[in-house]
Symmetry: C2
Subunit: 185 residues, 2 copies
C-alpha cells in the first residue's frame, strides 16, 4: 500500500515566482520507483483557515454572499477566513462570525477538517458549527458589508440548487452537517 510507502525524495526546492500574496516553488522529486519529476506548488506559511456554520436557531443557518475576485461574481457560502498568528482555530471562527455576520457564538464545536487541492496547496481548514449566537460586531477588512442570507437546514436541496452556492468547502460543510443532524435524530 502506498499508505505505508516511502514518500518521494525531495532533491531540491526553489522559489520560481512571487507576488504580493502568492509564492510558488518548484520541487525536484525522485519517486520510490526511481522516476523523477519537477512539480510546482504554492508555498504557504498559513496557520490554516476556518469555516463556520452559524445557527441562528435550531433550523436556520446563516450564509454570506460575497464578491469573489477569482470568478468575478458574488458567491454564497459560509463565513470563513484565515487563522491569525497567535490565534486558535476556534477563536478565529468566532472572530470571523463577528466580522462577517455580526454575531458571536457562546458555543462552537468542530465538525470536520478539510484540505483543498493538496496536489498544489497545503491548505488546512477546520469546519465549525456555532450555536447560541448573540449580537456582537468586529470591523472586518471587507470593502462592503456582506449580505447575510438565512437558510433552513431542511431546505438544503434548494441551497444546493443555487447557482451561486457551489464552493466545494461550503458544499462539503453543508453535507457533513446535514449528515450529522440525520445521524443524531
Amino acid at each position: 500500500m502506498t499508505k505505508d510507502k516511502a514518500l518521494p525524495k525531495i532533491n531540491g526546492r526553489k522559489e520560481v515566482a512571487r507576488s504580493r500574496i502568492f509564492a510558488i516553488e518548484s520541487v525536484d522529486l525522485t519517486f520510490s520507483n526511481g522516476e523523477t519529476r519537477v512539480y510546482e506548488r504554492m508555498m504557504g506559511k498559513s496557520k490554516g483557515a476556518v469555516m463556520v456554520i452559524p445557527m441562528l436557531d435550531d433550523e436556520t443557518m446563516l450564509l454570506v454572499r460575497e464578491y469573489c475576485g477569482g470568478t468575478h461574481s458574488y458567491e454564497l457560502g459560509f463565513p470563513k477566513g484565515l487563522v491569525d498568528e497567535g490565534e486558535q482555530a476556534v477563536e478565529a471562527a468566532n472572530r470571523e462570525l463577528k466580522e462577517e455576520i455580526h454575531y458571536g457564538a457562546r458555543s462552537i464545536e468542530k465538525l470536520h477538517s478539510l484540505s483543498m487541492a493538496p496536489a498544489f496547496f497545503d491548505a488546512h481548514m477546520d469546519i465549525f458549527v456555532a450555536n447560541n449566537l448573540y449580537p456582537e460586531s468586529l470591523p472586518g477588512d471587507e470593502p462592503e458589508p456582506l449580505e447575510i442570507v438565512p437558510w433552513k437546514v431542511s431546505d438544503y436541496h434548494s441551497l444546493l440548487a443555487q447557482p451561486d452556492f457551489k464552493e466545494a468547502r461550503s458544499i462539503a460543510a453543508l453535507m457533513l452537517f446535514v449528515d450529522s443532524q440525520k445521524e443524531s435524530t
Copy 2:
C-alpha cells in the same frame, strides 16, 4: 440583495507573477459603494476539471491514493483530472478512469458541479458517477501507478475518518452521492 447588485468595476488588470504552470494577475477594482481594492487572482485558461465516483458494483466505490506535492503526502480521493482542449467533460471523466483505475464506464452521469476558492481561482469541476465498468487502460502521466482502493458506500463514515481522505472536493462528492442514494431509496 447583492445577488442583483452591480459587480465591482475592473479598472485594470496586469500579470504580476508567472511560473511554468501558474500565472497570477492583480486586478484593480472599484466596488459599487465607491471602495477601491487591489485583489490578486490566479489566471486560468483551463477548460475545467472532472472528478468521478467509479462504482465497481452497486455498493463499491473505487478511490485512488496518490502523491500530492502541495502537502508532500499520499492522499486518498476520487479519480480526477483536467478537461483537455477539444474534449467534453464526460469524455475527460471516462479518460481519467482509464488512466487512473484502468476501467472504462458504459454509463457516466453528472452528479453536481463545484468551484474551489472562487476568491482566488476560476476553477470549475464537474462531478460524475460512473457505472457498468469494463477493463480498459490508457497511459497516464503519473510517475507511478496509483493505488486503487475499494470502499463500500455504506461505510462512508469510516472513509470520512481516514486521515488521508480530507480533500474538500472528494468529501463534497462523497456526501452528495450518499445523499442522492438515500433520496432514491
